[in-house]
């Protein structure tokens, strides 16, 4: 404040301070530094620990998800909170009729929420009801056929084809109904 900030003058002031206040200043400096450093390391440690526990919980057990979009109406409305569990995916217990959360085939960073219509080997009707000639598709091995409940307003397997089972993240088992 009194001097232009040159390193030499700063050091000189510190030396004067140390000479004047001596051991009191040094011990305060040391404990403050150690206290702050110790607290920082502990905080970082706890953050890493809780982040890892959260990852394990979301990856292997389940979690709470907010769904957006109209493709699953009226079962799931826009901005509904649902609970998803990941155990069925790991034990290959996904059934026809389950609502699942999966990674989008065209954008791996976003998730889609659809119903499982067919498992591998099933014969799926892919023509519209208005078509005269019915066309069928067989779901290949290792894939599932997903469709939204709101058929008019849903991009699903009718658009991008069967979805590999490996993209499924979890199965929805509970919806918090907000009236």
């Amino acid at each position: 404040m009194f001097f232009p900030g040159s390193l030499a003058t700063t050091l000189k002031i510190e030396c004067i301070v140390e000479q004047t206040y001596g051991p009191w200043w040094q011990s305060l400096h040391r404990t403050m530094l150690r206290g702050i450093l110790g607290k920082t390391f502990r905080l970082v440690g706890y953050t890493i620990q809780y982040a890892c526990i959260a990852h394990c919980a979301f990856e292997y057990v389940g979690g709470v998800v907010m769904c957006s979009g109209p493709s699953m109406e009226p079962t799931i409305q826009n901005s509904d909170i649902v609970c998803a569990e990941n155990l069925s995916r790991h034990f290959y217990g996904i059934q026809r009729g389950d609502i699942v959360i999966a990674k989008s085939p065209s954008d791996p960073k976003s998730n889609i929420c659809k119903r499982v219509i067919g498992l591998e080997g099933d014969k799926i009707l892919t023509s519209r009801p208005s078509d005269f000639f019915k066309s069928h598709n067989y779901v290949p091995t290792g894939h599932v056929w997903l469709e939204g409940d709101n058929l008019q307003n849903s991009t699903d397997s009718r658009y991008y084809g069967p979805v590999p089972y490996g993209l499924i993240r979890g199965r929805i088992f509970f919806k918090k109904s907000c009236s």
Binding site: Y92, P105, S106, P108, K109, P164, G166, L167
Partner: protein, 185 residues
């Protein structure tokens, strides 16, 4: 006698508490590390010869799989990656990335001669053409199935090396939309 017993029980309880505390710290951290950062895996099969497993079934290579590099699903042409098999979700396969989204590839043994890789997909092939179950059989794979990027061979010690992201010139895409981050030829 009772004081001694109380002391030994106290010791057991303390040990048990310390074990539980350590367990609930160590296991999630280890699992998260192996899922998100890196892990090792043994390569089986001949589909990536001669880059991986040149000795066939006699000696399987062990590779270092780097999850951290693919956390944003960014891969380059020529990378060796592991992914969940589209035909069998219980299995992971290891192949080389030949083409990214928007590229047009000339296929070997696929039902269409030329395939345009859709958005969010990649085309993977094994180095040993004809002995490889890859995109020539099941078509382009979604990037969501990407598991890790194989960066180094760790075992056997005489094959200790860094795996290069090199694309064989005859497998270059016919037309590419995205520019590779490596220097252009």
């Amino acid at each position: 006698m009772t004081a001694g017993m109380a002391q030994s029980q106290g010791w057991v309880t303390r040990y048990f508490k310390a074990f539980c505390k350590g367990f609930f710290v160590a296991v999630p951290v280890a699992v998260t590390f192996l899922d998100r950062v890196a892990c090792v895996a043994r390569v089986e099969g001949a589909s990536m010869q001669p880059s991986l497993n040149p000795g066939g079934s006699q000696s399987s290579d062990v590779v270092l799989l780097n999850h951290w590099k693919v956390r944003k699903f960014e891969v380059q042409r020529g990378d060796i990656v592991s992914l969940v098999s589209p035909k069998n979700p219980e299995q992971k396969i290891i192949k080389r990335v030949i083409a990214l989204e928007g590229d047009i590839v000339k296929t070997i043994g696929h039902k269409n001669r030329y395939v345009k890789v859709p958005r969010g997909h990649i085309w993977v092939e094994g180095d040993h053409h004809g002995h490889s179950f890859d995109s020539n059989s099941f078509g382009p794979v979604s990037l969501g199935l990407l598991h890790a990027h194989a960066t180094h061979i760790l075992w056997p010690p005489e094959r200790w090396q860094k795996l290069e992201s090199v694309l064989p010139p005859e497998r270059l895409p016919v037309q590419s939309e995205k520019e590779s981050l490596h220097g252009s030829p």
